[in-house]
Amino acid sequence: MTDRLSSGSDRLDGTLGGGLMANAINFLLGPPGSGKTILAQQYLFHNATDRRPGVYFSTVSEPLEKILRYAQTLTFFDRRALGKSVLYEDLGGVLNEKGLPGVLARVTEVLREQRPSLMAIDSFKATRSYADGQEGFRRFLHDLAGRLSAYPVTSFWVGEYESGDIIEAPEFAVADAIISLSSERRGERESRSLQVLKLRGSDYQSGLHAYRLSESGLQVFPRMADPVDPSDYGLSDVRIPSGIPLFDAMLEDGFWPGASTLVAGPSGAGKTLLGLHFVFNGLDTGEPGLFATMQENPSQLERTANRFSWSFKSPGVELMYRTPVDLYLDEWVYDLLGTIERTGARRVVIDSLGDLRAAALDDIRFREYIYSLLQRCSRQGVSVILTQEMPELFGVSRLSEYGVSHLSDNVVLLQFVRGKAELRRSITVLKTRASTHDPRSVQYDISTAGFVLGEPLSSSEALSS
């Protein structure tokens, strides 16, 4: 029944169960620079109309001049709306001269005169120091909340509150919604997160959601924690070749569509090349491919591909390069899913997991994302290869892959083998789901044709690896 208010961003609205409730009292909390003011203005500009405008009250913490100076750099800031559908007003003077009764009087006057559908008070927290004691402040809150509830207006009470304030500060008793913005610093990296702490009358996505501040406002990357979905989804039973015939034979007959395959091995073993085989083989089968790399830049990777007579300039293959510096897992996953959708990719290579892990805050979050990503790909029949670098050149004591081997359908190991005079390589299928596989380690060389598989290793050779 209650209307929802859109932020202009589908992802943020989704986090809020479809949007904020219209005519509610919403708190936006966070430290300085977290984007509270930007978010409030985003709502105003997106929803205000000439007939039902949005009013932005600044109080005493940030001068209105400054709010406007920075606001004009935002893409949603529409100069033509100023003074018509979006009105800015400084309440600082009123507050200093007449205190809280003055604020009440002015708010009432604006509600009667301007008939706004949205109103922001920034900073609301600053009003508390003008109260005549705790009792006076509660009276003010009661009167203000009473007016804002009697009139159809959605309000944003913006403040530099901290999490402890939510329990103690009396203003939160009148809150219909509380959105908290915070940031966490790890080394040189800063991760911003948005959390919905309360949303009366609606479900919402719990937990911390990453966000960035850009000139288009607050961009949210909702935490991806897809629940296990037991429902059936039909996939074709035509197997997907890897592009390396003898390797397909080891896998029974290539991969199941929608399968995820972890390829682990030390540096130089050929993980990236195996991924290239997979993606470029899609050109033969008419399946668009996507190579998502953080390892090599486009020129380097194109040069590598050229050595094997492939090119990323071919239609049907897409290269998504993101530098691992300043990479944010949340943003990257949304980016990847968007690119898969745009290109219709059926084969995806992610090179490499280690770079993604470094871009995640913690292991749990990392696994949640990878699990959700693989689930979404699987349900769409998109087959994925993930590469994982292992530190040991010879021998493997454990797969240090952050638990991803449990999440992937197949696990393939690339290793170096000590030969008599030369270094040799071997490939072993450790696990296949819903399929049988050749358990032997098979020797391979890398030529201009790519992977060339040879004979299985003898047991003594296998032991020496």
Partner: protein
């Protein structure tokens, strides 16, 4: 005096009520100084009901051809001789609406928006008061909050209907369209009330704007 009759109407609202452009109201105040609006904390003019009646008197004189200066002298004369006691009940001139509302903030907004459209209003905050005021003042339309204390709102709708109140607009925070219509209300609006919707519904129910009478 100021407490009994505080400034509540903006210059825009007074302009609409009297059919006089706000710029002319400002000029009158600056030039003649007879009717001086209070100022809000934000510096905006706020007119009391008395102010509105005094300006209505002037506007009427001007309409009949009296120069504004003379009209204000006439007004000042009356005020000086204390012949101007108080504003006549607005409702005596036109349509009267009873607003039976549990929430004082909602009542304040509702009253303001109806008055700025020229309707007379009478407020009641519980069941008994509503019955009493309906008996005393015979409003043409009653706005009934279905959650009014002291009885049920649907009973109040029925009681008012029996008292011969021709038009009933039921309102509630809860979606109560069916209950409202079953109780004999002519229309239902869910709170919070949007001013334009409130006024246009009232106009529709009464079949006339307050100004057109």
């Amino acid at each position: 005096m100021a407490d009994q009759n505080p400034g509540i109407y903006s210059i825009g609202a007074v302009g609409r009520m009297l059919g006089v452009p706000p710029a002319r109201l400002r000029t009158w105040e600056e030039r003649y100084g007879v009717v001086t609006a209070e100022r809000s904390d934000g510096g905006h003019r706020l007119y009391s009901r008395d102010h509105v009646e005094q300006l209505r008197f002037v506007a009427r004189q001007v309409e009949q051809g009296t120069p504004p200066g003379d009209a204000f002298r006439l007004l000042a004369d009356q005020l000086g001789q204390e012949r101007w006691l108080t504003a006549p009940h607005a409702e005596e001139r036109g349509l009267l609406i009873m607003l039976a509302e549990r929430d004082p903030f909602s009542a304040e907004f509702g009253e303001y928006f109806l008055r700025t459209e020229g309707y007379g209003t009478v407020l009641a905050f519980d069941f008994n008061e509503a019955e009493l005021k309906a008996e005393e003042r015979s409003p043409q339309l009653a706005i009934v909050d279905l959650l009014i204390p002291g009885g049920t709102g649907t009973e109040l709708c029925e009681a008012l209907r029996q008292r011969g109140i021709g038009r009933i607009l039921a309102i509630s925070t809860l979606e109560s369209r069916d209950e409202a219509l079953a109780a004999g209300a002519d229309a239902f609006l869910q709170k919070p009330l949007e001013p334009l919707k409130l006024v246009s519904t009232v106009k529709d129910l009464l079949g006339a704007s307050a100004y057109l009478r």
